[in-house]
């Protein structure tokens, strides 16, 4: 059985067209990322069956949900939906909300039960309460639990954390990770938050103006210089997988190993050998063609090669570097001329800031 999600949708609205073809691994978390108006929600509605794209195709593993003359209605699809608002039923208690879908799932198909979901999502204290007595974060956890209790083949989440503050987000993200670990439910997660992408995903799809602009592993997608338009100046940058090589107690630093080179970050409470994902914004990377002569305050200098020079225009330019994995640097056009950079040329990347993703 191939574990794939295969989707092909074309929808025409006045002023907006969705034209998407996807082949995704049906496991783990896949993020659909894009600016508002890029068609993320429409794509999700097509995937769920709330919307029927004419002559669309949707296959999940060995099941056909939509094809020529086939359209399985949403209530028979076994897809869990979680939206920005929790959409709990106000006339039912939390327990009744949680069991709504469970009771409508055939007992042979139930592979999740109330106790487990309540345990994992920490809902025990809420069961008897009414939805309007819950905080935003609690409601969202109930909504996730309610969707999970239908034992879905696919969980679709549309900006589930967008209406929550940072603290509540931090409270829910671990739960979403646990869903993946414990219940093995593939998740498609729509967001326009880079932080959520970095914390959650392995695979991402970038939508732009109704089309797939890029998709693949997050490290690869994030180092695409074309992403500037989607991410904006502030968020553009490479995502690197590192492992903790050691701790420097004296200066309170943690050494990270990245493809044989070392990065120093403020001391982290993580054991040696553990993995750590870091995000290096392209505007925090400057370049030199020679090793720094004398002393510099920059601790992290990586050796790399120029891989690709982005489109020229304005005062700055994005450079894609190859340091074993791609790294992005945004420098001025004047610096590019001064350094006379060419693809293949060895350079030193001075990294001024590193953001850890937990």
């Amino acid at each position: 059985m191939k574990n794939l999600l295969e989707a092909k949708f074309r929808m025409n609205y006045p002023g907006f067209n969705l034209d998407v073809e996807l082949n995704l691994p049906a496991k783990g978390v896949t993020v659909v990322f894009g600016p508002s108006g890029s068609g993320k929600t429409t794509l999700l509605r097509c995937l769920s069956g709330l919307e029927r794209a004419p002559s669309g195709i949707l296959k999940l593993a060995d099941q056909v949900w939509q094809d020529e003359g086939i359209f399985i209605p949403i209530h028979q699809r076994k897809v869990g939906l979680v939206f920005q608002e929790s959409r709990l039923f106000p006339h039912l208690s939390i327990q009744q909300n949680l069991l709504y879908g469970y009771q409508r799932t055939q007992s042979v198909e139930r592979n999740l039960h109330l106790d487990e979901v309540v345990e994992v999502l920490g809902l025990a204290a809420l069961l008897k309460r009414a939805p309007d007595k819950l905080s935003g974060g609690e409601k969202q956890r109930v909504a996730i639990g309610r969707a999970l209790l239908t034992s879905p083949k696919l969980l679709l989440m549309d900006e589930p954390l967008a209406s929550l503050d940072m603290q509540r987000k931090a409270e829910i993200i671990p739960f979403i990770k646990r869903i993946e670990d414990e219940f093995k439910t593939p998740i498609i997660y729509v967001t326009h938050s880079v932080d959520e992408v970095l914390q959650l995903v392995d695979t991402m799809v970038i939508l732009q103006a109704g089309k797939v602009a890029n998709f693949g592993p997050v490290q690869e997608v994030f180092s695409d210089v074309q992403l500037r338009e989607v991410l904006g100046e502030e968020q553009l940058g490479a995502v690197l997988e590192t492992s903790v090589a050691g701790h420097d107690e004296e200066f309170e630093l943690t050494r990270l190993d990245f493809m044989g080179q070392t990065l120093n970050v403020p001391k982290q409470n993580i054991d040696v050998g553990q993995n750590l994902r870091v995000h290096i914004h392209s505007k925090d990377v400057s370049l030199s063609t020679a090793p720094p002569a004398g002393v510099t305050s920059v601790l992290n200098i990586l050796q790399a090669k120029v891989a690709k020079i982005g489109t020229l225009g304005g005062y700055s330019v994005d450079i894609e570097l190859d340091a074993g994995r791609p790294i992005l640097a945004t420098i001025t056009r004047k610096s590019l001329a001064n350094l006379n950079l060419k693809p293949g040329q060895p350079v030193y990347a001075h990294i001024k800031a590193i953001k850890m993703v937990h």
């Binding site: 769920s48 949403i74 939906l81 959409r87 039923f89 006339h91 039912l92 969707a147």
Partner: protein
């Protein structure tokens, strides 16, 4: 002074008529109101206008066409007579039929606005949790629209109770069969029995007033809550 004799038969008949009418209306006004609340069809405005017609038409106009429709040669009365041997005009069944048209807007409109305010989200949510449309309607939509149902039932009932023109035209004035309370009042006034007319009129007035107070106060105090 002895209390004047009140004939309870018209009152009982009115209550029966209003009850049966409301029950029938609930069944067929629900899908109609649902359709009106969610359709994007261009015929929507036409249907809305037809539903609202009894609000503006003189009851005599409605009653006149009903009489023709339900009579032995009418589109509805004809086939019924062929089947049962008697037409619908001047019968209790005919009154029920006419009332269902006459009171339709009073049931459809509260339901329509209730369904609109509930919106599509609860339906989509219920469907995503495995509920069929019908299941979602009974388990989620109707509890969320219960204020609309309460208003519809009360207004439909009270309005049917108070109808006069249509009843007179379609039903005539047959004691025990089609003589309802409003016609009884008319009869009493005609023969100058003001005391009985007073009792019946004041009763109906008080009843209508209490019913409306109840609806408005319940509507105010009935937030959707966990049952």
């Amino acid at each position: 002074m002895d209390l004047p004799l009140i004939d309870f038969q018209p009152i009982w008949l009115s209550l029966q008529l209003a009850g049966v009418t409301v029950l029938i209306l609930l069944v067929w006004a629900t899908p109609l109101a649902w359709w009106l609340a969610h359709t994007r069809s261009r015929f929507r405005v036409v249907v809305e206008a037809v539903v609202a017609l009894p609000l503006v038409l003189p009851p005599t106009v409605l009653g006149f066409y009903m009489l023709i429709l339900l009579g032995p040669h009418g589109w509805v009365g004809g086939p019924v007579q062929a089947l049962t041997g008697s037409a619908l005009s001047f019968s209790f069944a005919g009154l029920v039929f006419a009332s269902c048209i006459y009171s339709l807007p009073f049931v459809v409109q509260p339901l329509h606005s209730a369904f609109e305010s509930v919106g599509k989200v609860p339906l989509e949510t219920a469907q995503s949790l495995g509920a069929s449309r019908l299941d979602a309607f009974f388990s989620v939509i109707s509890p969320l629209a219960r204020r609309g149902y309460l208003t519809a039932v009360v207004l439909g009932f009270a309005h049917t109770l108070g109808e006069f023109g249509v009843v007179l035209m379609v039903g005539g004035n047959i004691p025990g069969k089609t003589k309802v309370i409003s016609i009884e009042i008319y009869d009493r006034v005609e023969v100058l029995e003001y005391t009985q007319a007073h009792i019946l009129s004041a009763g109906l007035l008080l009843f209508s007033f209490l019913v409306l107070v109840m609806v408005y106060s319940i509507n105010r105090r009935l937030p959707v809550q966990v049952t």
